[in-house]
């Protein structure tokens, strides 16, 4: 059983509940769990169009999900709700996120058009890669 918990009040934020459920299901896969156990980062997600935000605090094998902005994030992902789900559909090839197929290219295009903003992308490159692998349903 993976250690994914909702902080008090987070259960009232639908996006936090949805993404926690998705992560719990994903972490049943051993290859995802391996990355989860190594990831230490504070990740803030803001679905602008849905006017909802959350923070995920990964601490090498545990995750606490907050409904809202909590602390100073290492990585901030700011986009619309549908793009967040596109991120979950990124394919993983040879243990790395793959950006050269239709889904990956769509994400890159949104990055270039600033419809998807990822702050901390370069400073926390490895953490972002791990996060992408954990979040990916593939």
């Amino acid at each position: 059983m993976v250690d994914v918990k909702l902080a008090p009040g987070a259960d009232e934020v639908a996006m936090a509940v949805m993404l926690s459920d998705m992560l719990r299901a994903n972490l049943e896969k051993p290859e995802k769990l391996k990355d989860f156990n190594k990831l230490k980062a504070r990740v803030y997600i803001n679905a602008k169009d849905a006017e909802t935000e959350m923070t995920m605090l990964f601490d090498k094998g545990s995750l606490t999900v907050y409904g809202g902005k909590e602390g100073n994030p290492d990585i901030s992902i700011i986009t619309d709700a549908a793009t967040l789900l596109d991120l979950a559909n990124i394919n993983i090839k040879m243990g790395m996120p793959y950006y050269f197929d239709e889904t990956g290219m769509a994400v890159v295009k949104k990055l270039l058009k600033r419809e998807l903003q990822i702050k901390g992308m370069f400073a926390h490159y490895f953490a972002l890669n791990r996060l992408t692998k954990i979040m990916s349903l593939n």
Binding site: V13, A14, M22, A47, E51, T52, A81, A82, L85
Partner: protein, 187 residues
């Protein structure tokens, strides 16, 4: 005594009701009525974009519209879509127990679904805001996000009249229709 869902008698009675309504009603149909559902079913069945997006999809999806008696919806309405690898086998209004047993049930108040069908609310956004609630395996729905979005787009492209736009007589007519469907079909 209502017929039992899934029997030949039930299917024949449902089809007869749809046929009668299609012949007696003029477009635009009222959202949530059997004739509107039939129109929606035809759109999905003939949509190449949906077929492509849903080629890996397996499972039934229910749109559950919560009751709103002041516009004639005295009971929750379950719109059941039997979907399989890009095919839409059928879309029907079904009894509550059948609706609740679908693989995926997306529940919302009438106003939310009205906003979705008027293209004012995106389904994904609605789910993230908690305005629409999903029962079922979330990762599977997320993988099929394009197919889900297309289903909603199609519902928004049906010509329709919303129940809250009806006058008092229209609301009573809708109430009477749904009561008849309840008595005869258990829906």
């Amino acid at each position: 005594m209502a017929l039992t869902y899934g029997t030949d008698e039930w299917n024949q009675a449902y089809d007869a009701l749809v046929k009668e309504r299609l012949e007696s009603q003029s477009k635009p149909f009222v959202m949530g009525t059997p004739e509107w559902v039939a129109q929606y079913e035809e759109l999905i069945q003939n949509d190449a974009e949906y077929k492509e997006a849903a080629k890996d999809w397996e499972g039934s999806v229910v749109i559950k519209i919560l009751a709103k008696p002041d516009i004639g919806l005295d009971k929750d309405l379950y719109m059941f879509m039997d979907l399989w690898h890009g095919d839409c086998r059928f879309v029907k209004i079904v009894p509550a127990d059948v609706g609740e047993s679908a693989d995926y049930v997306i529940t919302g108040e009438y106003e939310r679904w009205r906003s979705v069908m008027a293209k004012e609310l995106d389904t994904i956004k609605g789910m993230m805001q908690g305005k629409l609630k999903l029962k079922g395996d979330l990762p599977t729905i997320v993988r099929a996000v394009k197919a889900s979005a297309r289903l909603v787009d199609l519902s928004a492209s049906t010509e329709c009249k919303f129940p809250d736009e009806l006058d008092a007589a229209g609301i009573e007519e809708l109430r009477a229709l749904l009561k008849r469907a309840e008595d005869e079909l258990g829906i």
